[in-house]
């Protein structure tokens, strides 16, 4: 693949710039499709703050369980609430919980992995043992435990998903640090008298970033599936806030009367999860050409 296309000289300035903008996506269907799907979800979540077709909580018994129509594009639920509006507001909860949970996992897991890999010895042994045990507690199990101790809600769901995802990032960071700390440029930094923290932050972290970015995208896909499942079980986002999971929970009782309330949120979850996993796969291909198959 040539870096400078032979035809570039004949292009006008603008079209060249536009094509340059999309160059990272060329031949990378996964990345492009993932970006479009996630872009759509993020935009509708942002749009919901300034504009919604209807108030998502306004009850209209005249329009209960209506099929899709010109007034209600996706139909209405058992209270006559507009499904599209609720779906858009629900996107906020999904992204919010997913991003914070993965943020917790990335922050704590990264820190644990870096310390484990860089310091090594007994600390490494101990921290990796803890990570092993956390593997035995998937998000739903942790959420059940937390919900029983505190009150089930957005916070317990976020924390449960976050903690359960820590080992993934800890292991990733640890193995990156282990390979990188033997490299010459890191050795040089240390020889020049840089402190351990500085070596980690300035020399190792930038090189370890791309696999972490890829993993963050893939973990977001899993986190969003977990959030939806927890809300469906009543262990996540509280019922008064629309979220895709609890919309499905409410829709189940009325499925025989109207299938639409049970279809729309599910498709939204599929689109979002698919988006993050395509984005993650695409990023991996783009950042590490060797992994392409």
């Amino acid at each position: 693949m040539a870096r400078f296309p032979a035809t570039s000289g004949f292009r006008s300035g603008l079209s060249w710039r536009i094509s340059a903008l999309f160059r990272p996506f060329r031949g990378r269907v996964n990345l492009a499709l993932g970006a479009v799907l996630i872009g759509t979800v993020v935009l509708s979540a942002l749009l919901s703050f300034v504009w919604l077709p209807y108030d998502p909580n306004v009850i209209d018994f005249g329009a209960r369980l209506a099929p899709p129509s010109a007034e209600h594009w996706l139909g209405t639920d058992h209270f006559g609430r507009d499904l599209l509006s609720r779906l858009m507001v629900g996107a906020r909860a999904t992204l919010y919980v997913g991003l914070i949970a993965v943020g917790i996992a990335l922050g704590l897991g990264g820190l644990i992995g870096a310390a484990s890999g860089y310091i090594g010895g007994v600390l490494d042994e101990l921290l990796m043992r803890v990570a092993d045990v956390l593997y035995a507690f998937p998000p739903i199990l942790l959420a059940i435990l937390l919900a029983a101790i505190y009150r089930p809600g957005t916070l317990t769901a976020m924390v449960a998903i976050g903690i359960a995802t820590i080992p993934v990032f800890a292991r990733l960071m640890r193995s990156s640090v282990l390979t990188l700390k033997e490299r010459d440029f890191v050795e040089a930094g240390r020889a020049l008298g840089a402190s351990g923290g500085r070596v980690l932050w300035r020399h190792i972290l930038p090189s370890a970033l791309s696999p972490i970015l890829v993993q963050a995208s893939l973990s977001l896909a899993i986190a969003i599936l977990a959030e939806a499942a927890l809300s469906f079980l009543g262990l996540g986002t509280p019922p008064r806030v629309p979220s895709w999971g609890n919309m499905l929970r409410e829709a189940q009782s009325f499925m025989a009367l109207s299938p639409y309330p049970a279809m729309a949120p599910g498709l939204a979850i599929v689109v979002t999860v698919l988006g993050w996993s395509l984005l993650g796969d695409g990023l991996r291909d783009a950042l590490d050409p060797q992994s392409r198959r």
Binding site: D132, Y135, L225, G266, V270
Partner: protein, 314 residues
């Protein structure tokens, strides 16, 4: 081999012990007096004192933990506060639903994923491979509980072929029991099939690139033999690992599916225990799941060492 086995077993047991400490410590983390929280604020002081006695809250944490752990090893988790029956008895009853559900889902997943993943790898470069890969990618993005809802919509509401939920015990009618498990197992198994398909394909491709496969083809062995004996057999080592880890996913996924189909399994038991603040039951359940996951990863490692004679652990 034996030293490896012993070391691996010890590490699995330590993991279970740490999990037990975590589960037990969770109860200590409850803000305030557990007895008052369980009974509510209007409880009489006498009832609260009796419950504290039953839960052993008057004993300091460390002896209380050892006592609980000792019971747990013998299979005695105390009495459920909600059902007023031994926890172990409740768990045993619920396993009759959860185990067949998870095994059924695993069977479905393997029947779909192993052929699809193999075909995709063998037909790399043709239209078939990207089609299978795309199906797997989309399949992995579908939440199993939503798939369950859609199955109810199609097979129960529209077609009326299978029950939309509920469960008939095995001893009353094995046919009805199986009928009530088909849709849940299908919903649970299909998502896992997507994951296993991708992994099977990847490990087949990995093995295909090995020198001994090239040698086998070069010396003129029929393709059938190269695929079945040289490639598939070696790829199975990785695939078995994946299946073992998938089983852990299925156990946990079943919690949600049981809720969709109103199946009286372990998952629903745990969810009702949260509302009832039935801590002895919850602790036992969470520890049971965590131990099962540790046990699965232990068996996978051991199996891996047995299947692949090249792997020798010092």
């Amino acid at each position: 081999m034996l030293p490896y086995l012993i070391r691996r077993l010890a590490s699995a047991l330590i993991s279970i012990l740490l999990a037990a400490i975590l589960v037990f410590a969770a109860l200590l983390a409850i803000p305030g007096d557990p007895a008052e929280i369980i009974l509510g604020l209007n409880a009489s002081p006498g009832a609260a004192a009796a419950l504290r006695e039953q839960l052993g809250l008057n004993v300091p944490p460390v002896p209380r933990f050892l006592n609980w752990l000792g019971g747990a090893i013998r299979g005695d988790f105390g009495d459920s506060l909600n059902y007023r029956r031994p926890v172990s008895e409740l768990l045993a009853g619920r396993l009759q639903v959860s185990i067949p559900l998870a095994l059924g889902a695993m069977l479905i997943a393997c029947l779909i994923a192993l052929p699809l993943g193999t075909v995709a790898a063998l037909r790399q470069g043709t239209w078939l491979d990207p089609v299978i890969v795309s199906f797997a990618q989309v399949g992995a993005a579908i939440p199993s509980f939503w798939l369950g809802l859609m199955f109810i919509l199609l097979f129960s509401v529209e077609l009326g072929w299978l029950p939309a939920g509920g469960y008939v015990p095995w001893e009353r009618s094995p046919v009805s029991a199986i009928r009530s498990l088909i849709l849940p197992a299908l919903a649970l198994g299909l998502g896992q099939a997507a994951v296993i398909t991708r992994m099977t394909r990847a490990s087949m491709l990995d093995v295909q690139r090995q020198d001994y496969v090239r040698t086998a083809s070069a010396k003129g062995l029929p393709r059938r033999r190269v695929v079945l004996v040289h490639t598939l057999r070696n790829a199975m080592v990785t695939i078995v690992t994946i299946i073992g880890l998938s089983m852990a996913q299925l156990l946990v996924g079943a919690i949600v599916i049981e809720q969709v189909f109103s199946l009286p399994g372990l998952g629903r038991l745990a969810l009702t225990a949260i509302g009832a603040r039935d801590f002895p039951l919850l602790q036992a359940e969470v520890l049971l799941y965590a131990s099962a996951i540790v046990a699965l990863s232990f068996s996978v490692d051991v199996l891996y060492a047995f299947l692949d004679p090249r792997i020798r652990y010092s």
